[in-house]
């Protein structure tokens, strides 16, 4: 990569920027890009949004076929995979120019772009799973809508009160490739467990913490606090129709979604502490620089200029739902204008990310999450379910280690 210093002021360039922002987050990003272009008229940015699933297929394909965009946004748990695939570039050299400093980020976030001693991505935001609650439903059950439960006892007694009022308070999805497992992830961490050993070669989720986490989830259904056979969309529909009090989910998906429902009285708070410590699954959108067959110094300088600008101005991105990763931006009083985001931000210090192991997202979504979903559908033995998943995961983890090991 050519050396880049300072803000780009050369002849006009048009950058290609790929991402998966196909929901309500897309227009927010486009608005930010427009603002950037006003400030830097010599840099135009063509944004191409495609569903994340397609993005992760097409982005590597484009890079290999020499059709790579200049920059892209991806999930933190896909960065190591794509670094190992060699479709993105290390960005250590541009850190200073972009203006990234370690003390501006939570350690977990700062560490999330570093793989094999090099930094591959620049964190834009954080989207911790949070507790979305339906204020009207709480009120009707005699609960205080301004004080959502914060611990296990409080949560369970709230669910009891809701059950007495005839409402199943926590519709727990058993079928939903994303929603199912992330609740389990948070609970496992809250109980002090981990998903993988340090080398990322073996799954450790079948330990006592994992079993307890899954058993607690099953108890929601057994106690009648959740219906059985719930899908992610069921829980959402029930919440919007005042039939469900609590949703565990990410701000990126839910803040805009719930905000569009007329007459829905809702708010959001950090996840309650069900285990021994506070913890919440979180993801993060991160900027990456795509590998080119040959780099153009002008284009790269323009990319760096854009990254510096948008990370500085990431408060504007918060209206998409996720909260800014940069702590000085997060502490900006302007965030208080977005009450839901401000409430989500109260929980960020407890967020957890998946470990930086290539192929880890695949292990989570194709092995752990289906196992959790099955256990919630069948209400079968949680230990057996998690142990089977451990065995299955060992195959994939070994294969990934071989596949990405030499790459």
């Amino acid at each position: 990569m050519p050396q880049v210093a300072g803000t780009y002021d050369g002849p006009p360039v048009t950058l290609r920027f790929w991402n998966g922002l196909t929901g309500g987050d897309g227009p927010v990003m486009r608005t930010l890009i427009e603002e950037f272009t006003v400030a830097h008229p010599n840099v135009r940015i063509d944004m191409y949004a495609l569903p994340w699933g397609d993005f992760y297929q097409k982005f590597p394909a484009a890079v290999v076929s020499a059709l790579a965009p200049d920059l892209a946004l991806m999930h933190n748990f896909q960065v190591a995979t794509n670094a190992a695939r060699r479709v993105i570039m290390p960005v250590d050299e541009v850190l200073g120019t972009v203006g990234l400093a370690e003390e501006d980020y939570l350690p977990v976030v700062w560490g999330s772009g570093v793989y094999r001693g090099q930094r591959w991505s620049l964190p834009l935001d954080m989207w911790p799973d949070s507790l979305f609650y339906n204020r009207r439903v709480l009120e009707q059950a005699g609960l205080d809508p301004d004080a959502p439960p914060v611990d296990r006892a409080g949560y369970e007694s709230a669910l009891d009160a809701l059950a007495s009022a005839g409402v199943r308070g926590h519709w727990l999805p058993a079928i939903d490739p994303q929603g199912v497992g992330r609740g389990f992830d948070s609970l496992l961490w809250q109980l002090g467990g981990t998903h993988y050993d340090d080398a990322g070669r073996a799954a450790t989720w079948a330990g006592p913490e994992g079993v307890e986490a899954l058993a607690w989830q099953q108890s929601l259904i057994r106690q009648g606090w959740s219906p059985s056979d719930v899908s992610g969309s069921d829980a959402n529909v029930a919440f919007k129709n005042d039939q469900n009090a609590f949703l565990w989910g990410g701000p990126g998906a839910l803040i805009n979604d719930l905000g569009q429902v007329d007459g829905l009285d809702w708010d959001v708070a950090p996840l309650p502490r069900i285990g021994t410590q506070r913890a919440a699954f979180s993801g993060s959108h991160q900027f990456v620089v795509a590998r080119q067959q040959s780099f153009d110094a002008d284009r790269l300088a323009a990319v760096v200029t854009f990254l510096g600008w948008i990370l500085e101005n990431s408060l504007g991105w918060a209206s998409a739902g996720p909260v800014p990763a940069r702590l000085p931006v997060l502490q900006d009083p302007g965030l208080q204008d977005l009450p839901a985001q401000a409430h989500v931000a109260q929980g960020v210090e407890h967020i957890r990310f998946y470990p930086l192991v290539p192929g880890i997202a695949e292990v989570q979504t194709t092995i752990l999450y289906p196992a959790v979903g099955d256990a919630l559908l069948s209400l079968g033995d949680p230990r057996a379910a998690l142990e089977t998943a451990t065995t299955q995961a060992s195959f994939l983890l070994t294969e990934n280690a071989e596949k990405y090991g030499e790459a």
């Binding site: 079928i175 056979d229 719930v230 529909v237 695949e362 559908l377 790459a407």
Partner: protein, 326 residues
């Protein structure tokens, strides 16, 4: 010598008229547009061959090549692994073997459940729609209508109807007094009831139309003769209609088995493979391994096993029904 030469000349001259008569004839035959040159058929086939070659033959052959490698599009190396991908699929205890055979089992169950229904119901429907009654054309159209819908429309539509907690069907069942919600899309055996039911609803129109065309070509005289011999309705169906339909039945059976064995969209959209990958069909698993996990070599190997199995089944179909014919 003279004699010889004379004879020779004579011989040469004598047949000359015959040759003369024959040669334009011959020439006409050679150059006649009705007698094509050897390459003419290939020229006519060329456009199709080009498409067939590009989209079937070349991918099929490169699939064999891929299946012998550990092939990830995006990694620089595609190490040659010989038959390892195939061996993996037959290694008891290996994750991919478990998952693959589990998905083959799902495909097998779906074929066994759906094919008999997709053979019998459309036949009954075709027999009904072959009667003369008012509004016949309307009903023919009505039963065919679902077939024109795309699988995504069908999936979305039935998702709304069958959803366990928010679906219309369970909503109506509740009003009828069924207190326990039926997990149509999340628990066996209901998932199979849903998938087979939806597929029958969706595709029976096509099979009906094929049967109907077959029925219309059955010679009326055979029915008259059977009536004269004292055959009743059932006897006529059994001894006239079904034997006459045999080639059509063979066609419908082969197409239906292949279509059912390639089932993907219904499972993908309705059950997502739930519960416990019980309804994740072979094609669905192959797509997941190849196009989501990029393990193309393995996916290609699985595709070949599935294709081989389908070829064997189709061949058996032909053999079985042909033997009956003789």
């Amino acid at each position: 010598m003279t004699t010889v030469s004379a004879t020779g000349t004579a011989r040469r001259e004598q047949p000359a008229p015959a040759v003369h008569v024959a040669s334009p004839d011959l020439r006409r035959r050679v150059r006649s547009p009705h007698r094509p040159r050897w390459w003419t058929p290939y020229v006519f086939l060329a456009p199709f061959l080009l498409i067939f070659g590009t989209f079937v033959l070349v991918p099929a052959l490169s699939g064999v090549w891929m299946s012998l490698h550990n092939w990830d599009f995006f990694l620089p190396d595609h190490p040659f692994v010989g038959l390892q991908n195939y061996v993996d699929l037959f290694t008891p205890g290996a994750l991919v073997a478990q998952q693959f055979w589990e998905s083959m089992r799902a495909t097998g169950i779906f074929v066994l459940l759906s094919v008999p229904l997709l053979m019998a119901i459309p036949l009954a429907l075709a027999l009904l729609l072959n009667q003369r009654f008012r509004g016949r054309t309307f009903f023919r159209a009505v039963f065919f209508a679902p077939y024109v819908l795309g699988v995504s429309v069908v999936g979305l539509l039935w998702q709304y109807l069958l959803n366990g907690n928010t679906g219309l069907i369970n909503g109506y069942l509740a009003e009828l007094g069924v207190t326990e919600a039926v997990p149509w899309l999340t628990a066996t055996p209901w998932v199979w009831v849903s998938l087979v039911g939806v597929t029958v609803w969706w595709t029976m129109g096509f099979n009906s139309v094929v049967y109907l065309a077959g029925l219309q070509s059955v010679d009326e005289a055979l029915y008259d003769a059977a009536k004269v011999d004292g055959a009743g309705r059932w006897a006529r169906l059994w001894h006239v209609t079904l034997p006459q339909l045999r080639p059509v039945i063979l066609f419908v059976l082969t197409m239906t088995v292949l279509a059912s064995a390639n089932m993907f969209g219904q499972s993908y959209l309705l059950t997502g493979g739930n519960p416990s990958n019980e309804t994740r069909t072979a094609i669905m698993f192959i797509a997941e391994v190849g196009l989501e996990q990029f393990r193309m070599g393995l996916a290609a190997a699985m595709s070949y096993l599935l294709a081989l199995l389908l070829i064997v089944i189709s061949a058996l179909n032909f053999l079985f029904l042909r033997q009956k014919e003789s």
